[in-house]
Every structure is written in structure tokens, then in C-alpha cells.
């Protein structure tokens, strides 16, 4: 048996204006979980895309299964036994779960010369797979009816079922909740026991140390090194990733919550399965965390407050004024902002520049004569925010779709900072963001609170929720199950509230 | 080969009058739309007739497609003028745009022969008493006549087309394209002439536009035959293409032209003549593209040579019936 299932040697890849990979090496042993780490924009996804045949590398060599290979497209990669869960989900919303999973390798049966799709087998296989990933869904259900995290589970099921020798997982857990993560780890362990290798990319330190055998680290497109996971600690990884020490995960919270300025009363969705009778309030300069399991309807609630979803009852009072919010614009003009959960669907403008993506929500503030855009002033604010968020981009004119996932997320956060709202609602703000940058974002959030802005933060990462919130509202099955003061918050009491009505 | 005689007072080109040996004369032709059946025959005849001229001059003929778009055609005329063409033969897209074209040509001093679509009378008189008078003309057939002939084709039948003998002619009309003068006149005068000649009443069962298109002719007739059944006595089609489509529908409905229905068109397309001969069409009207194109070319040549043109050259339509069709067949 070979020592390595995969060897990538001296891989380089440039995009206009960036050298994304500079002679990177990576060796993967059979039957191991190999974590790949690095800051946002370090080149992790690019390296994996070169391996999976989505990009062609400029130079370098790939030896897979003892044989030098030239992978020109994904079909090629798949046929060699490489499967991948992409960082950016690629679901086909209008087709069934089964079709999504078996796309490209449908089971067929033959009637003479006719080759017909074997639907019975297709659905049976899918149902079996879904059970494996703990999803009790009908395999005929359209993907569009699933939540982001359920779609992610489908993506994982798809990669896992490909019978691959090597499975690449690019931030598979960024939209999964704890339960689902555990399920994923079970699957990974099963795969490993069967001799499958896994390349695992994540920004979540705990996961890395828990699941991986070896860890490779990249920085700015350059390979830093590989270490056995046993020899590593979170601090060591961070140091090697970022190049400096990072002593605290959270900045000191020295904001002082003031008066109640924002009140939500009796919010009930028109969808009977969604949130019901939700009431809460928010103080000036307060960071209100919102916890709960997937399906707790936190996102739906916030979107409803913001005018994206419809309600049957509910009232929002802001600084004593009852707001009539029919569409997001109404909320924004009142100084309320929402960073949405699904970056791709409701966040980025793929073909537009980074600058336009940052500036779009703030145009009202930069009008001369109420009509002509003051492009200079706008540009200044945009550039400030690009800098503040340390967005890694060749220029502010670059199309956002060519940025790394984490940097796209930073751009959208930058958009709402530029807008300078008084109430900022953040739905999973640090999804896909590296540890170093997370700290910076936390600092910004605390800073905003100190300036008297109010923050609502939905997060499925318990430590983040506990570390950042003045107060935590926990939801379960669409209802508020309780509030926990920041200092009293523990994983246990949040969990018990999150499962209160189950 | 065509059985017609040139009834137009075609200006004869007299080769002895001018000693213009070896000159190259650029002739610009713009046809309103290239895929019009009739104008295709027409333009081909223009081209080939120029080739047969042997007065020592070389005629360089450029034919453009107006694409049924007056703006486009105006651009083409501008370009012709810009390139220093010697004479233009213009089949206007929009007859009302004649004034603009005449002005352009007059400015450039280039003679202009309008064909097929007749400009307004006022426009034809625009340069009366000025230099440019006699340098532009209209060569065409009187569209009213084609309509009248259609009416006569039916009125001249023994039963005047009135199959059920109620003294009323029940008919359907398939209109070309309402914006086209030919369509308008044929629709109008076929009936008015019928009324006049036959003394019968008429009843219009249906009038639909078929855009000169054979497929539409078929569908319209098929629908009408379902709806009105035996009530239909005559199908008037503004052109032969639609009449041919109609004849398909008539045959498919188990009706027989000449026995329980009549069908007339205009253009005398080859197949229409065949059908007339075989009795599957009652008659058609020859739009004499040979006569018209030759007259137009002769006028152009005359104008180039500096001779004064008349304001109008008329070429007659000819009725084609089963009795006369043999004269027209190839």
C-alpha cells in the first residue's frame, strides 16, 4: 500500500491580480482525516478546486492513488474516486432530493436498447442514504423546500454516496447546527474506518481538533506545514495560520446597555409552522443574542421584522414610534439593518464589484441635490469599510464572486457597517470567517454597541453566543422559550431552553 | 413566353439616339421586401432585362432589400445617392414616404423610378414646373383593377357565383396585409365591382388577415369552412399564395371548386395557373411583372439618357380563367 493516497506537489494558480496558490504541497494518507486550515483567502478552496477539476492549475503535479493524474473536469475527478462538498452550495432547487444526490450517476435499467432511469431504485437508494445522514425526508421532495442546513446535509449525502476514495469537505459545517455536526462526524468516522480519506476544511477549531488526524496549514497561498493533530492546540494552529499570537477569542465587552428602544410584540407568522407570539425588547447599546436549534424559526422571525416575510399579528415599536414595515426599505430608512443568513441567495451581487456590494445600502446618504450620487464620498466610505473588514481583494473593482467565501461574508458585513444603522440584526455573521477575522468582527460589534447602537445576533455557535451577548433569547419551535442574562449563560441552560417544547 | 402583350406605352429605347458606348451606369434598386413572391419575379426580371439591353452601356445593377422597413430603405437610398448612382428604381415600403425620397433624389439630381407602390398624387406633382419634373415617374398597375377583375371573374360566371340561388353572394375574404394599398383595393374593389356587374347582393361571412402567407390562407379557410360550411360560395384571396392555401383547405374539406365553391386570387403564380387549368381555382389575375419591369427599366434608361419621362406609365392586369389560362402557361 502506498504511503499517500494523494500527493499535490508545487501547485500554483493565479487569477487576474492574485496569486492564489504559490507552489503548494499537500500529502494525504489513506484512511485519515486531514484538516486544511488557513485564513480567509489563503487558497484552501482554490487548491481543492484544482484537485477536483473545477480549476486548471498553472503548474504543479498531482499524484493520486500512485499515479500521476491530470484532472481536467469534475466528471474525471469523480470517476477517479474523488468527491467534494463545495463551500458554496450548488443545489438544484426545483428538483427532488433524489435527483440532486444522484445527478450524473442515475441508476438505470435496460429495455433492449432503451436505457431508462430506474426510479424505484433511485428513490429507495436515496431514502436509505437520507436515513444515514439522519434526515427523515421523502426523497421526492424538492430541494427548494429545505432549509440551508438541510440542503447542506443533502450535499454531504451526495458526496458520501459517491463511493469515493477521497472526499473533500470545504466548510461542510458552516451552515449545520450542533446536532447535524455530530451526525456528520459519525459519517466521517465510518468513512475513515472504510479506508476513505477526507480533506476537511473548517474555521472551527474545536471540530478540527476533534475529528482530524493531521492538519495542514496555508497562509496567503503558501503552504506552511503539516502536523499531527495530537501535537496541536488551538493556539498553535492560530499562531501558524495568522502568523501571530491571538490570546483572546472574544474582546472585552465594555458596552453599557441603556433604555429599551426597540420592542417586538406578539409576532406571528402567516405560516402556521413558523414563529408564534414572539415578543422581546432591545436596549440601546445592547447585544442581544438569539439561540436555538435549526428550525427554531429565528431567521424567519428576523426576516419578518425586516419586512421580507408576512405576519398575521405583530407590532414593532422603535423609539416610541410604531413602525409600518412593508418591505426592507421601510426598515432601513428607519435605521434598522439585517445581515441575512443566506449569503448567496440574499447577500451578494455576484457580478458587481466589491465597492458596489459595499455601497448599495448606503446610497441614500450620499446624494447631492437629492439626486446625483456623490461618488467620491461614497467611495471613501466604501474603502474605509473594505479596510476595516480587512477584505482580501485585488481591488475594490473586482467582482465579488471571485472573492473567497469568507471575504464575501466580510463584504456584506461591510455593507451594513457603511449603512451605519442604529439597530443591526446579524444572522450568523461569522459564518465561514477565520478565527483572526472573527475577533476583529467581534470588536467591531462591541464598538458599535458602545456607540449606543443595538445589536441582535443570531448564532448557532454556542461559545460565540455566550461570549458576545449581553442577553440571550432562546427560541424553540417558533416560540420564545426564555431569556438568559449574559453572565449566567452556559451551554447547558441554553440547550435546555432550546429543547423546552420538544 | 408570357402570353401578355405590352399594353403600356413603354418608352422605347432607341439605340441610335445616343452614342454612349462603354459607359458604366449604376442602377440602384430597392425592393420593399425581398421575400414577397411577386416582387421576387419582378426584381429578377429587372435584373435579367438590364442584361439583355445592348445599347453599348454597361449596367451595374444593385438590388437592396428594404426589409419592409421604411427607415431601412431610406438609409439605403441615402447610401445609393452617396455612392453616386445614376438612376434609382424604388419600390417604396411606405407609399407615403415618396415625398422624402423625391426630395432627396431631386437634391442629388438623380432620376427616380417608383414601381409597384403608387405615391400620392400630390407627391407626384411636387416638382411640376421645376427642373426635376420629368425625371421621376411611377410605373405600375392600378391596384383597383386587380380587385375589379377578381369581382368580374366571379360575376362573369354563369350563376354569378350565387350557388344557392338566393341572389346574395356569400363570401369570405382573405386579406393580405391591411397596411398595403394592394390589399386594401383588392378587398374593396373586388366586391364593389361584383355588385356593379352582377347586380346581386353580397354577404360577407368572414374577413381575416392572412399576411399574404400560404399557411395562414389554409388555416383561415379551414376554420371558415368549419364554421360556415356550405354557406360559403366564394373565397376571395388578396393573392395567390393565400388562395393556394385556401385550395388545400377546400380540398381537405371535401369541397370542389367550380361545383360547390369558387376561389379567386391575384398574381397568376405558376401553380395557381395550373389549378385554374385543372378547375381547382376559378381564376386569378395576372399582375404583369414582365410588362411592368420592362417598362420600369426602359424608363430608367431613358431618364439616364436625359430624356423627359411622363408622370405615369400604366401596365394593365390581365384576367386568367380556365378559358384563357393556356395562353399564360409555360
Amino acid at each position: 500500500m502506498e504511503e499517500y493516497i494523494l500527493q499535490m506537489k508545487n501547485i500554483s494558480k493565479s487569477f487576474p491580480g492574485v496569486k492564489a496558490l504559490d507552489r503548494v504541497n499537500l500529502n494525504i494518507k489513506p484512511g485519515t482525516v486531514h484538516a486544511l486550515m488557513g485564513e480567509n483567502g489563503a487558497g484552501k478552496s482554490t487548491l481543492m478546486k484544482c484537485l477536483f477539476g473545477i480549476y486548471r492549475m498553472d503548474e504543479g503535479e498531482i499524484i493520486f492513488n500512485g499515479e500521476k493524474v491530470d484532472i481536467t473536469n469534475t466528471a474525471d475527478a469523480l470517476s477517479r474516486g474523488i468527491a467534494m462538498v463545495q463551500q458554496e452550495q450548488t443545489p438544484i432547487l426545483d428538483r427532488s432530493i433524489a435527483e440532486n444526490i444522484f445527478l450524473g450517476r442515475f441508476p438505470t435499467k435496460k429495455y433492449g436498447p432503451l436505457e431508462v432511469i430506474d426510479h424505484t431504485k433511485l428513490y429507495a437508494e436515496t431514502d436509505r442514504l437520507l436515513k444515514e445522514v439522519n434526515m427523515d425526508f421523502d426523497s421526492r421532495v424538492k430541494l427548494s423546500s429545505l432549509s440551508v442546513s438541510q440542503m447542506q446535509s443533502v450535499e454531504i449525502a451526495k458526496a458520501v454516496s459517491a463511493d469515493a476514495k477521497l472526499v473533500i469537505m470545504d466548510e461542510p459545517t458552516s451552515s449545520l447546527t450542533e446536532n447535524e455536526v455530530e451526525g456528520l462526524f459519525e459519517i466521517i468516522n465510518k468513512l475513515r474506518d472504510n479506508g476513505v480519506s477526507i480533506i476537511y476544511i473548517s474555521h472551527k477549531m474545536e471540530e478540527i481538533l476533534q475529528i482530524s488526524d493531521e492538519v495542514s496549514i496555508m497562509r496567503d497561498g503558501v503552504y506552511v506545514g503539516t502536523w499531527p493533530a495530537k501535537e496541536l492546540t488551538t493556539d498553535l494552529i492560530i499562531k501558524r495560520m495568522v502568523g501571530r499570537e491571538l490570546t483572546n477569542r472574544f474582546p472585552p465587552r465594555n458596552n453599557v446597555p441603556g433604555e429599551v428602544i426597540f420592542e417586538v410584540e406578539n409576532f406571528t407568522s402567516i405560516d402556521p409552522k413558523s414563529f408564534k407570539n414572539v415578543s422581546f425588547n432591545l436596549r440601546e447599546g445592547e447585544i442581544l443574542g438569539i439561540g436555538g436549534l435549526v428550525g427554531a424559526q429565528r431567521t424567519e422571525l428576523m426576516e419578518a421584522i425586516f419586512g421580507i416575510r408576512h405576519i398575521v399579528t405583530g407590532k414593532v415599536t422603535y423609539k416610541g414610534e410604531v413602525l409600518k414595515i412593508k418591505r426592507p426599505r421601510d426598515a432601513i430608512t428607519k435605521g434598522i439593518a439585517l445581515l441575512t443568513e443566506d449569503r448567496r441567495a440574499t447577500g451578494i451581487f455576484g457580478v458587481l464589484s466589491v465597492a458596489d456590494n459595499v455601497g448599495i445600502a448606503s446610497l441614500d446618504n450620499y446624494l447631492d441635490y437629492n439626486f446625483v450620487l456623490n461618488n467620491k464620498a461614497l467611495e471613501k466610505v466604501v474603502n474605509e469599510n473594505i479596510e476595516k473588514m480587512s477584505i482580501k481583494t485585488p481591488s475594490s473593482k473586482t467582482q465579488i464572486k471571485s472573492l473567497s467565501g469568507g471575504n464575501q461574508q466580510k463584504v456584506i458585513i461591510g455593507r451594513w457597517l457603511a449603512n451605519n444603522p442604529d439597530v443591526l440584526i446579524l444572522d450568523e455573521p461569522t459564518r465561514g470567517i477565520d478565527v483572526g477575522a472573527k475577533y476583529e468582527i467581534y470588536s467591531i460589534i462591541v464598538d458599535l454597541a458602545k456607540q449606543g447602537k443595538s445589536i441582535i445576533m443570531i448564532s448557532s455557535e454556542m461559545p460565540e453566543l455566550i461570549g458576545m451577548s449581553d442577553r440571550i433569547m432562546v427560541m424553540c419551535e417558533g416560540k420564545v422559550s426564555g431569556f438568559v442574562e449574559g453572565e449566567n449563560a452556559t451551554q447547558e441552560n441554553i440547550m435546555s431552553l432550546a429543547t423546552k417544547f420538544m | 413566353n408570357s402570353g401578355t402583350t405590352d399594353q403600356a406605352e413603354a418608352p422605347a429605347t432607341d439605340e441610335t439616339t445616343e452614342e454612349t458606348t462603354g459607359e458604366t451606369i449604376k442602377v440602384g434598386v430597392s425592393i420593399y421586401k425581398f421575400d414577397d413572391n411577386f416582387m421576387t419575379l419582378y426584381r429578377e426580371e429587372i435584373d435579367s432585362y438590364f442584361k439583355t439591353l445592348d445599347d453599348g452601356n454597361t449596367y451595374e445593377v444593385t438590388i437592396q432589400d428594404g426589409k419592409n422597413d421604411q427607415a431601412e430603405q431610406t438609409n439605403q437610398i441615402d447610401a445609393f445617392i452617396q455612392q453616386g448612382y445614376d438612376v434609382l428604381i424604388i419600390n417604396l415600403v411606405q407609399s407615403t414616404s415618396a415625398a422624402t425620397v423625391i426630395d432627396k433624389c431631386a437634391d442629388a439630381g438623380i432620376p427616380c423610378i417608383f414601381i409597384n407602390r403608387e405615391p400620392e398624387e400630390a407627391d407626384m406633382n411636387l416638382y411640376d414646373g421645376q427642373d426635376y419634373e420629368g425625371k421621376y415617374t411611377y410605373v405600375g398597375a392600378d391596384a383597383r383593377q386587380s380587385g375589379k377583375f377578381q369581382g368580374e371573374l366571379i360575376a362573369d360566371l354563369e350563376n354569378k357565383g350565387d350557388l344557392n340561388g338566393d341572389g346574395v353572394l356569400q363570401y369570405i375574404m382573405i386579406v393580405g396585409d391591411p397596411e398595403n394599398v394592394d390589399a386594401k383595393y383588392r378587398t374593396e374593389f373586388s366586391i364593389s365591382q361584383y355588385l356593379e356587374v352582377s347586380g346581386n347582393e353580397v354577404e360577407k361571412l368572414d374577413e381575416q388577415r392572412g399576411d399574404w402567407d400560404q399557411a395562414k390562407g389554409q388555416e383561415i379557410t379551414a376554420n371558415a369552412l368549419v364554421k360556415f360550411g356550405d354557406a360559403i360560395e366564394v373565397v376571395f384571396a388578396n393573392n395567390d399564395a393565400m388562395a393556394l392555401g385556401a385550395s388545400q383547405a377546400i380540398a381537405a374539406a371535401g369541397r370542389t371548386v367550380g361545383e360547390d365553391i369558387y376561389l379567386v386570387g391575384v398574381d397568376a403564380l405558376e401553380e395557381a395557373k395550373q389549378l385554374v387549368k385543372d378547375g381547382e381555382m376559378t381564376g386569378t389575375v395576372l399582375n404583369d411583372h414582365i410588362g411592368q419591369s420592362h417598362t420600369a427599366v426602359d424608363a430608367a434608361v431613358k431618364a439616364v439618357k436625359g430624356e423627359k419621362l411622363e408622370k405615369y406609365y400604366w401596365v394593365d392586369y390581365v384576367k386568367v380563367t380556365s378559358d384563357t389560362v393556356d395562353d399564360f402557361l409555360n
Binding site: T74, A75, L78, S79, M84, Q86, T90, P91, I92, L93, D94, R95, E99, N100, L103, G104, R105, F106, E115, V116, I117, K158, I270, D271, I308, R309, H310 | F34, D35, N37, T40, L41, V175, P178, Q208, W212, D213, Q214, A215, G217, Q218, E219, A222, N223, A224, V226, K227, G229, A241, G245, Q248, A251, A252, L269, E270, E271, A272, Q274, L329, N330
Partner: protein, 331 residues
């Protein structure tokens, strides 16, 4: 609750109900509408258009379009006519052409139009030219070729055995024979239904329309799929042209003008999504029916031609506006 169900039913079947109401109204007020003859008549009009719509549907489902459809119908029709004229016809296009077997001509026609379809596919998938432009360019090119080939002469004098395809049918003891055109439409419709639902090609097509990148990374050969789709579309246009020429007893370069827009509209009315990934064969049939029935009904109702345009436009918009409600999810 009950009223809700009725509302749901109305919303989900808006177009069918509209169509049904129209047919009932015209049927009750106008003689001759609800007859077998009229049924076959409408079926014959629907048949070629259904083929064209089916052809273009694949392009639409994969987020493309095909504006060359109409002109390819024209080319198919003209080619058929030039090769299937009566031997004794005076104005024969190829004076010395012997009598060719119809099937040979048919194959030649669909091969040729299929080839142009393939070219569309190649330009779209290899040169990355947007489908709108590719097929608009192809529309112009095909028209030019047809002009050059036919010299814009109208073609007639077709052989009876050829025109019979459009007018005759199989006698199965009914008062009227079942028209071949109807049978062809059914067979082709079933074929497409099978292709779209039961084969890998169909699934790939929907996947490409839903998310081309996803299809690509799942190992679907998107290039090959598109080549198949556009070629098949070309074949269908040729087929339709072949039938239309037989039906109207002749053809000229104008044949098929504007059919592409009608076909695309019919598909969209029938629920094929302009943003890709969605569309069914029964839906497409429904869309084509809306168009053709509406035309026939208006003629029966003796609506003035100018007004017919207005009514047709309004009905399209209203039908789709009603229908679309079932897709626009209430959030």
C-alpha cells in the same frame, strides 16, 4: 376551508379553466365549433406548432432560447417542397429531379435542420456566445441561405402523396379518419414526455437549467447535453416545416416567420420557466392550445382582426398572471 380549496383549485388550474370556459362559450354560441371536423381542424393547426414548441422547450429549460426556430421551419418547408414537386409540374424547381421517396426527403430535411441546430449548440457551448445572440444570428443566416437556395420563388405543385400526409388520416371506423397530423403530434408528444421524464438526458436537461454549475460539478457533460438539445430542436423545426408545407400545399421563404416567438410564448404560458429548470410536456401542449384555440375562437366569434391582436395580447398576459400565482410562494 372548502372555499379555500376551491380557490386553490382555481389558482392551480387557471389556464385550463380559462380555456375550458372559452371553448364552452364559443361552442354554445357558435355553430360548427363543437364538431369533429373542427376538432380535427384545430388538431391539425396545433400539431406542427406543438412540435416547434417541444423543440424549443429544451432550449428554454436549459436557460437558453432558440430564435432560429421559425426560419428553420421555413428552410425545412422550402427544402421539402423543392424535392417533392410533381414530376409533371411545369414550374419545377429542379426540372430533372426524379420522384424521390418521401421518407428520404423527410430524412434529408430533418438532418439539415438538425445540423443547423447542432451548429447553434456548438456555438453556444464551445464559443460561449449567449443563446439569444447565437440563435438570432442563426435566424438571419438560415434566412439568407433559404433566400439563396430558393431564390425566394414560391414553391408549389406538390405531390399528392406528400400533401396527403397533412390532410388524410387513418380510418378506424369513426365518422372521420383520424388525421395523421394528430397521430404525429401524439407520438412526438409521448416521445418527448418519455425523454424528459424517463431518461438521463431529460434529468440532465432539468439539472442544467436549474443550476448549470451544479450539473457540471456533478459530472454531467453539459456540452454534450446542450448539443443534443439544440440538435433535437433543429430536427423538430424541420419536421414541422415538412408538415406545414404539406398542409398549406406549398412554401416560400416566409414560411415560419415569427413562429419562434409564438412557440416560446406557448411554452412559457404552459409553465416552462424563463429562468430555467422547469417545464413539462403537458404544460407545453396546454400553452400551444391556448394560442391556437384562442385564434380559432376569435375567428368563430368574428372579432375584427385588429381587435384580435388586442384580445390575444390581453389573454396571454391575464392567463399567465392568473397562472403564475401558483408559483409565487406566499412567504
Amino acid at each position: 376551508m372548502e372555499s379555500n380549496k376551491i380557490k386553490d383549485f382555481l389558482e392551480n388550474n387557471a389556464i385550463i379553466i380559462l380555456l375550458f370556459a372559452l371553448v364552452v362559450y364559443v361552442g354554445l354560441t357558435q355553430d360548427g365549433f363543437l364538431t369533429m371536423t373542427n376538432f380535427f381542424n384545430i388538431a391539425s393547426n396545433v400539431s406542427p406548432r406543438f412540435l416547434i414548441a417541444l423543440g424549443v422547450s429544451g432550449c428554454l429549460i436549459t436557460k437558453g432560447t432558440d430564435l432560429s426556430a421559425g426560419r428553420l421551419v421555413g428552410l425545412g418547408g422550402v427544402l421539402s417542397c423543392t424535392l417533392l414537386q410533381r414530376v409533371d409540374y411545369a414550374d419545377k424547381f429542379f426540372p430533372n429531379l426524379p420522384e424521390l421517396p418521401i421518407i428520404v426527403v423527410f430524412l434529408a430535411v430533418i438532418l439539415l435542420t438538425g445540423f443547423f441546430g447542432l451548429l447553434n449548440g456548438i456555438v453556444i457551448s464551445y464559443l460561449n456566445v449567449p443563446p439569444f445572440l447565437t440563435t438570432l444570428g442563426m435566424q438571419t443566416i438560415v434566412y439568407g441561405i433559404n433566400l439563396v437556395y430558393s431564390g425566394a420563388t414560391p414553391l408549389g405543385g406538390l405531390r399528392r402523396d406528400y400533401t396527403q400526409i397533412a390532410s388524410a388520416g387513418i380510418n378506424i371506423g369513426l365518422p372521420q379518419p383520424i388525421k395523421y397530423l394528430l397521430i404525429i403530434a401524439v407520438v412526438v408528444g409521448v416521445f418527448f414526455w418519455f425523454l424528459y421524464n424517463k431518461t438521463r438526458h431529460g434529468k440532465y436537461m432539468y439539472a442544467i437549467g436549474g443550476n448549470e454549475h451544479a450539473a457540471e460539478v456533478s459530472g454531467v457533460n453539459t456540452v454534450a447535453a446542450k448539443l443534443r438539445i439544440y440538435s433535437l430542436a433543429g430536427v423538430m423545426y424541420g419536421f414541422a416545416g415538412f408538415l406545414l408545407a404539406a398542409k398549406s400545399g406549398g412554401a416560400s421563404v416566409n414560411l415560419g416567420l415569427g413562429y419562434e416567438l409564438e412557440a416560446i410564448a406557448a411554452c412559457t404560458i404552459g409553465g416552462v420557466s424563463t429562468t430555467g429548470g422547469i417545464g413539462t410536456v403537458p404544460g407545453i401542449l396546454l400553452g400551444v392550445l391556448v394560442f391556437e384555440l384562442l385564434k380559432t375562437c376569435m375567428q368563430f366569434l368574428r372579432i375584427d382582426t385588429s381587435w384580435q391582436y388586442i384580445v390575444q395580447g390581453l389573454v396571454i398576459i391575464i392567463a399567465v398572471a392568473l397562472d403564475i400565482r401558483k408559483y409565487t410562494a406566499k412567504k
